[in-house]
Amino acid sequence: MSERRATVVTLAVVAAGLLVAPFAFNGDYEHGLLVGVCINLLLLTGLNLIVGVAGQISLAQAGFYGFGAYTAGILGAEAIGPVWLSVLAAPAGAALVALLVGAPSLRLRGLYFTMASLGAGVVLFLLFGRAVSLTGGPNGLLGVPMLEIGGIVFDTPLAMYWLAAPLAFAGLAFAGWLAASRWGLAARAAAASEPAAAVAGVPVFRIRLALFTLSGAYAGMAGALETYESGFVSPEPFGFFAAVTLLVVLTLSGAGTLLGPVVGALLLFGLDELLAEADDIRPLVVGVLFLVAVQALPQGVVGAISDRRRARRERRQARPETATETETEAVTA
């Protein structure tokens, strides 16, 4: 199967899954969980752009997620402009923050960039908790109104799902297109060898900054959806642990692959469900997952499966050549 066809099939399967899911899992609670899956999908798809495609380990995604959530929440709660505008302002604002963070920090390499991104995430997290007059501080932001766009009120989890699912799907499809474009190829090339990419004409820093900014926009949109889904924003989901969890889940599911964020979103959903009553052991579980990801599945689940399929295909392609070589040897002998 060609790569393009594989992408189309993957997207078709995801679209079908998103269409069927609210009917298969009926009820407000289940629909709320499905909205959560879509939010996670947006978050992980965005993170995949900078981690999987550009090869830069970022720990700022949870901070951008929070920035989007608070942007939407504050604009909505304070009735600054129409409510729908806050849904656009959230990704725009988070993208701007990502741009400002990325402009200096993406000049750093490897772990230094990761540390800088961690710093940005921590500063944002502290801001959410301490700018009490703006964010409500540790008690959270109350008074977020119902989301209304063009007369449609998103007042049930199912209605929110029909907003979140197309956004998550569009985000995934766009990321898939981007990864296969010359920009995506160039970013993947620069992740493998920055000097070789530079002498091939790739503006490495600009491409990474664009992808980091875009990953911020994805996180911001996820934040807006989270705000209007729960009607409340508090700092807790946007801290260091959330950033690490996102990174671990993406690595384990398959960074750099189209399907990785989808598997990751389902994995996060599973984690949330399994650990709903045992939140204390959550760091332990994430830690174990991290070890598994690093030791057993460095390419992630999806990456390992595609590598195995590719190896099998290459062996199949090599077989006729081997036969010919053997025949030639026999003739020569």
Binding site: R182, L185, R188, A189, S193, V199, A200, P203, G256
Partner: protein, 240 residues
């Protein structure tokens, strides 16, 4: 023949070590200028200065008459300066075709067009059948050809080839030399850094010998080969 690349009086030091001392050379369009010299003479540093991987302390690099000394590597590539590396610098995780497609990034063409050009470049180097293989699965000799093919997709006017024949068996090195000669016939100017002296003498129109960061000799191959200073410093009696 017009001057495609000019290096004028380039100086470069790392800490207290003077690596390049007033190096000047010219590469003319459609010709090969070979840069030879013992290990540590400053050849790769000069390649890095010319390609924009490092900035010189002083001196000028001109591409087609334009001063590109202060430009970053990717802007030089966009202006027609290509380069391969002494140690393989391939994009692991990408296929052979994807590797060479990246070489055409600066052309601004859609991926489908770049793929067609990439396949043509792979054919030129005789490795089109490997297009869908991941580069990390290639044998060394095959992998060594991916870099020049990648460079070619970017339609360079000048190519810096840093030891392209290193590690290749003699017949593959000869084939490579023929391919380089063919590229020159198409108008490409080549700055060839190579230790394979017979290949250099056979291929080069001009030879520049670098020793301890300074130009020891600069002239046609026959003249340089006969230069006693070059024999003493680098060639030895065997290659002269």
């Amino acid at each position: 023949m017009t001057v495609a690349l000019a290096v004028e009086n380039v100086e470069k030091a790392y800490g207290g070590v003077q690596v390049l001392r007033g190096v000047s050379l010219e590469v003319r369009a459609g010709s090969v200028c070979a840069l030879i010299g013992p290990n540590g003479a400053g050849k790769s540093t000069l390649a890095n200065v010319v390609s924009g991987m490092t900035l010189p302390d002083s001196g000028t690099v001109r591409l087609g008459g334009e001063d590109i000394t202060a430009l970053p590597a990717w802007k030089r590539a966009a202006r027609g300066l290509g380069r391969t590396f002494q140690n393989l610098e391939l994009f692991a995780g990408l296929t052979v075709l994807e590797n060479v497609v990246v070489g055409g990034y600066a052309l601004g063409l859609p991926v489908s067009e770049l793929r067609a050009r990439g396949l043509a470049a792979l054919e030129r180097f005789g490795i089109a059948s490997l297009a869908d293989r991941r580069v990390e699965s290639l044998a060394f000799g095959e992998a060594k050809l991916v870099e020049p093919a990648r460079m070619l997709v970017g339609e360079p006017k000048v190519a810096i080839l840093d030891e392209p024949a290193a590690g290749l068996p003699p017949d593959s090195a000869e084939q490579l030399a023929e391919r380089i000669a063919a590229l020159c016939r198409d108008g490409l100017g080549v700055l060839l850094i190579e230790h394979n002296v017979p290949l250099v003498m056979d291929l080069a129109d001009r030879v520049v010998v670098l020793e301890s960061g300074a130009v020891l000799a600069d002239g046609p191959p026959g003249e340089v080969r006969a230069d006693q200073r070059v024999i003493d410093a680098y060639l030895g009696a065997g290659d002269a």
